[in-house]
């Protein structure tokens, strides 16, 4: 009797969970495991060679100072993107939850960039940075914009951050808005009666109570900016002289352009480890800040 109950449960589970489990296995688990296996081989699609080489690929990754430099570049990029995108989204969300006129339209407006694909968005900003702004800069003599931002490593770095943050802001804003609407009205009223100013309300009440939203937003922006590829491809193409290649871009180049699949895949695993460690640590640390109202 007990046994048939087990089967019955398994059947129900498979009915509902089966299809999605299958999809998850097919597009995530299996490729991940195969990928992990490939890092121990010198796989080459041209010769279909699969011989196992042990940890040689990983050794190569840690000796490759170009990849390490690009990983550092990526870390800097992620840090500033997360910071800027979250700060901007937080204040935009604050501004758009005050009940002002046309708020819905503005929310839609801020969210729109998120609906544009990264490639299109990259080309859009590319035109802006390399054509429109230098044109205006030369016309009105703004030294900041006289040259294209994309032809210098430092300015191209900021161009990447601005474009990515611009796209992320709308999405994060929605989460923050949802977070703010979860702040109970009675607490806000009580604080108003106690004479708290607008700034004090934000700092002492809204901020602590929207920590869950912040945790989610930081996590999303972290993982998304670590895995940025499309904007990098369309905006700078790794240029000038391959100095703005983010880690993902470098991996694709390594595997598909330089035909070093094993090493490229090993770099991808290293990147995965870095992203996992950073994302988990930050959500663990931030979660500690959560309070109950």
């Amino acid at each position: 009797m007990k046994k048939s109950g087990f089967y019955r449960n398994a059947g129900t589970f498979l009915l509902f969970g089966g299809p999605s489990l299958l999809a998850f296995a097919a597009v995530v688990v299996v490729p991940f495991l195969v990928g992990l296996y490939l890092t121990f081989t010198n796989w080459d699609v041209r010769t279909a060679d699969h011989s196992v080489v042990g940890f040689a690929n990983y050794l190569h990754v840690f000796k490759d100072h170009v990849f390490l430099e690009q990983l550092w570049f990526t870390l800097k990029y992620v840090f500033f993107t997360v910071l800027i995108a979250n700060a901007a989204a937080f204040f935009v969300a604050l501004g758009l939850t005050r009940g002002g006129k046309g708020e819905k339209w503005l929310r839609t407006g801020f969210f729109t960039p998120n609906l544009i694909g990264g490639i299109v968005l990259g080309y859009l900003w590319q035109t802006l940075f390399s054509q429109v702004l230098p044109y205006l800069g030369n016309k009105y003599g703004w030294p900041l914009f006289e040259k294209s931002w994309l032809t210098d490593t430092n300015t191209a770095f900021w161009a990447l951050i601005i474009a990515t943050a611009w796209q992320l802001v709308g999405y994060l804003m929605m989460i923050y808005i949802a977070g703010f609407s979860g702040v109970p009205q009675d607490v806000l009223e009580a604080s108003a009666i106690d004479g708290a100013g607008r700034f004090a309300v934000i700092r002492r009440i809204v901020l602590p109570l929207s920590v869950p939203a912040i945790v989610i937003c930081v996590f999303i922006s972290l993982s998304r900016s670590f895995l940025t590829y499309d904007i990098n491809l369309a905006l700078t193409k790794g240029g000038p002289f391959n100095s703005t290649e983010l880690a993902t871009y470098h991996i694709v180049q390594k595997a598909f352009l330089s035909d070093q699949y094993g090493i490229g895949q090993a770099e991808a695993v290293v990147l995965f480890a870095v992203v996992a460690i950073i994302a988990l640590t930050q959500s663990y640390l931030l979660k500690k800040l959560e309070v109950e109202s």
């Binding site: 498979l14 699609v45 032809t151 352009l257």
Partner: protein, 461 residues
């Protein structure tokens, strides 16, 4: 109640197993064909292509890396389908300048390759085991093409890809601008040396025009400009391959290499008179081409393919031509009167996952494409390319490729086939070094060092 649950469970399992089975079926069928003996397969298709086509419907796919002309190919496929209703051709498009090779590799790795692939010769060489040896058709194509065209398409001595387009590059000139600057007719043959070029640049600058445009993209600088250094060593592809081998083994010092130094001296000259001097790396291809075509720069380091942009432009000048990039002050040096010329794209037929029927249909289609009136018209007039074939009735409007053809017909061409044997990433890596040199981030010594280091890192590959 229990019965229903049981049925539900059974249905679920069938569904799941069904999907699994569907997956595995797809795999096995695609693996079946490559396991068939390839040599035998090739022979069969060799015969099949002579025989009249069977009425069995055949579906073939066409992988295209000439992304700018996807639409033209698609129209051709429709035309061909109307003429041969049993053959359906499906286009696998790739984005312009985007992840083309990645897509090709993933198709190959998933055991689902395209029947026909329009690829760079170098890519075909890299995957030479995957493609059909067209030895049996070689004689036929030697008859059809201009002398030397098939030879230039050979990869390691094998005929794996059918040539269909030829391109040349050098210093393009805008005739009106040059003639206005020198105040008379311009004879392209008058520029034989670097000093000649500099004198001309000075006149153009004095006339208030930008003398030359350098397109700052890595492919232009790395593959086309620096690529000349490998091709200019000698006029033998084999010798030039040996030179690259020597580079890999660290036996060559570029700073002591005359063609490299000469080429870079000329680059310094171009750099000095560059229209994009203020911000050389912007590299907007459409804008650079348009500015040249409208007369904002007299010369442009580019090839006849830029007609795809220039040809349809409004308010452009009419007359353009090409001159070689002079690399020394001795008019007789190799390269000073020759134009770099190659067959960059070849049609190759897959031999790793296609059935003999598909291969036969592919051969028949390709022959139709390069010999029929519709095919030639599409390639020459619509794509604006020149064909290395003897009997091309269609007349194109591309005056730049006409100018290139004049050099080629006189035998004044540089065979740049050595680039087919270079690693796939050479243009991106050395192009980045050239970009650094262009913006004075490194000097000549630094450039030579970076390029040498790149080649050394490829030793033994």
């Amino acid at each position: 109640m229990k019965k229903w649950k049981g049925i539900a469970l059974a249905v679920c399992l069938t569904l799941i197993l069904g999907t699994l089975a569907a997956c595995s079926k797809g795999n096995s069928s695609s693996q079946e064909s490559p396991s068939a003996e390839p040599s035998q397969q090739a022979q069969q298709t060799g015969q099949a292509s002579q025989a009249p086509q069977s009425d069995k419907p055949v579906k073939i796919s066409f992988f295209n890396t000439s992304a700018e002309v996807n639409q033209v190919f698609e129209d051709l496929f429709k035309t061909y389908h109307e003429l041969n209703p049993n053959v359906t051709i499906e286009l696998i498009p790739t984005p312009i300048g985007g992840a083309q090779l990645e897509k090709f590799q993933s198709l190959l790795a998933s055991g689902n390759p395209a029947t026909i692939a329009n690829l760079d010769a170098g890519t075909i060489l890299q995957y030479k085991d995957k493609f059909l040896d067209l030895e049996s058709d070689k004689a036929k194509y030697e008859q059809l093409t201009k002398p030397g065209a098939v030879d230039a398409a050979l990869l390691d001595g094998k005929f794996l890809g059918i040539p269909w387009t030829a391109q040349g590059y050098g210093l393009l000139y805008n005739k009106r601008v040059v003639e206005e600057a020198i105040g008379g007719a311009f004879d392209p043959a008058s520029v034989k040396t670097r000093d000649d070029l500099e004198a001309l640049f000075k006149k153009i600058e004095a006339a208030g025009k930008a003398p030359v445009m350098i397109h700052g993209a890595d492919w232009s600088l790395g593959a086309h400009y620096l690529g000349l250094a490998y091709s200019l060593q000698t006029n033998s592809v084999e010798e030039n391959r040996k030179f690259v081998e020597d580079l890999k083994n660290g036996k060559v010092s570029l700073l002591d290499n005359a063609p490299f130094m000469g080429l870079m001296d000329t680059f310094d000259l171009l750099k000095k008179y560059n229209a994009r001097k203020n911000d050389p790396l912007v590299a907007d291809y459409n804008k650079d081409s348009a500015d040249f075509a409208k007369g904002n720069a007299a010369f442009y380091f580019m090839g006849d393919w830029t007609w795809a942009v220039v040809g349809t432009l409004e308010g452009r000048d009419q007359d353009f031509g090409v001159i070689p990039v002079p690399i020394s002050n001795n008019p007789d040096d190799f390269g000073n009167s020759q134009i770099a010329y190659s067959e960059p794209k070849l049609f190759a037929i897959d031999n790793s996952g296609s059935s003999p029927e598909q291969q036969a249909a592919a051969k028949a289609f390709l022959e139709w494409l390069v010999t029929s009136e519709q095919g030639q018209d599409a390639i020459v007039s619509k794509m604006g390319l020149s064909m290395p074939y003897k009997e091309v009735k269609a007349k194109g409007s591309n005056v730049i490729s006409d100018s290139v053809a004049q050099f080629v017909d006189q035998g004044k061409s540089i065979n740049i086939a050595v680039i087919n044997y270079l690693p796939q990433d050479y243009w991106a890596k050395t192009g980045a070094s050239m970009q650094k040199y262009l913006v004075d981030k490194i000097d000549r010594k630094g450039l030579a060092e970076e390029v040498e280091n790149y080649w050394k890192s490829n030793a033994g590959k």
